[in-house]
Symmetry: C2
Subunit: 208 residues, 2 copies
């Protein structure tokens, strides 16, 4: 085991974990193989075995993987044995969708606080949270032991909010805001922009 | 020019395009360089030059790129000179956020129709669209000349909806549903799952 594992390998582990949970919890399966997992995910079985081999030996030739054991190991590797506290910035339509998304808690994340600057929204309830003013960002992050943040705010304030989050100790950000964010080394930003994903696909389409 | 350009290169072109539009439209810049673009995006200038060189010569040594020319060329390459019609499946919180997102139209996409199966929602207006019953999916896709779809529906119906979309001629899907979707060759699926992105980041965090 080492820390020099390519990030693209790390990026596939949550996908394996999600599928294994589906197999165990929704389908009641007990064992699987790299072939079966690969078939379900359109990834080669060799790739799956190679990815997992970075972290140890999790299966046996012939008998495959015990799903619950592999789930436990992946959760250990990805640091999902404790839950992570999350702040959401922006209580617009997207922020509303995020705080109401039930998939977070089940998979290791708890949205602890939600911020906006719209006086009409502050103090109102949204998905079991009360919308707080952005002025309370730093205090609430410390109070709630928040380690991660999701940006769903307007683009013109995204960098400023990012700087404040990082200054307050947040080390990982998921940004739904279109545009690149500048952060210091050691802080990770993951981006989600539907248009970027769609423009990547139109390259392969016949223009009308 | 050829069609065997790595998909990871294609995936960076929309990011370049977004930044160039920011430079031209919001900052009034006329020219740029691979150094400046790279600095803004945390990508090496050599990478940018190499990516663009797959498609031709867009800049001059010393003088750099004319931003509006490079924007035009990237839009041609990515097939963004016409707009693409999009269907959104699922009128929950996320569907609501998607149909209200103003970033689509400006960047080449028009959400034409929105589907759900909840009788309470069908016929109501959401983001200038009227929610339609999923029964109308195929008819509405043909009528609106829809080429792409965004899935924001519950996981248990996602594969069935995908099959219907593909059967109706949709070639590109952006899925916000957790889980892998099976499609035939020639159909592209792009996934957006916040938990997958966040679990990739917790690997690098110190567990609490």
């Amino acid at each position: 085991m080492n820390k020099d594992i390519p990030d693209i390998v790390i990026g596939r582990l949550p996908v394996y974990l999600r599928e294994l949970n589906q197999m165990a919890n929704s389908e009641g399966l007990v064992t699987t193989s790299s072939q079966e997992l690969g078939r379900r995910l359109d990834i080669s079985s060799a790739q799956i075995r190679k990815d997992l081999s970075h972290f140890g030996e999790f299966g046996k030739q012939g008998t495959g993987y015990h799903i619950s054991y592999l789930i436990d190991q992946l959760e250990l590797i990805l640091h999902l044995t404790t839950t992570w506290n999350v702040a959401v910035i922006g209580a617009g339509y997207l922020g509303h969708a995020l705080v109401n998304y039930r998939g977070f808690q089940r998979r290791g994340f708890v949205v602890k606080c939600l911020f906006d600057i719209d006086q009409q929204k502050i103090g109102t309830e949204m998905g079991r949270l009360v919308v707080q003013h952005l002025d309370e960002l730093e205090a609430s992050i410390h109070q709630n032991d928040v380690q991660m943040a999701i940006l769903a705010c307007p683009p013109n304030v995204a960098q400023d909010v990012t700087d404040r989050l990082v200054e307050a100790g947040v080390k990982s950000l998921l940004s739904y805001v279109p545009g690149h964010l500048n952060v210091q080394d050691g802080v990770q930003v993951s981006y989600s922009d539907p248009v970027i994903q769609m423009q990547r696909m139109t390259y392969y389409l016949e223009p009308g």
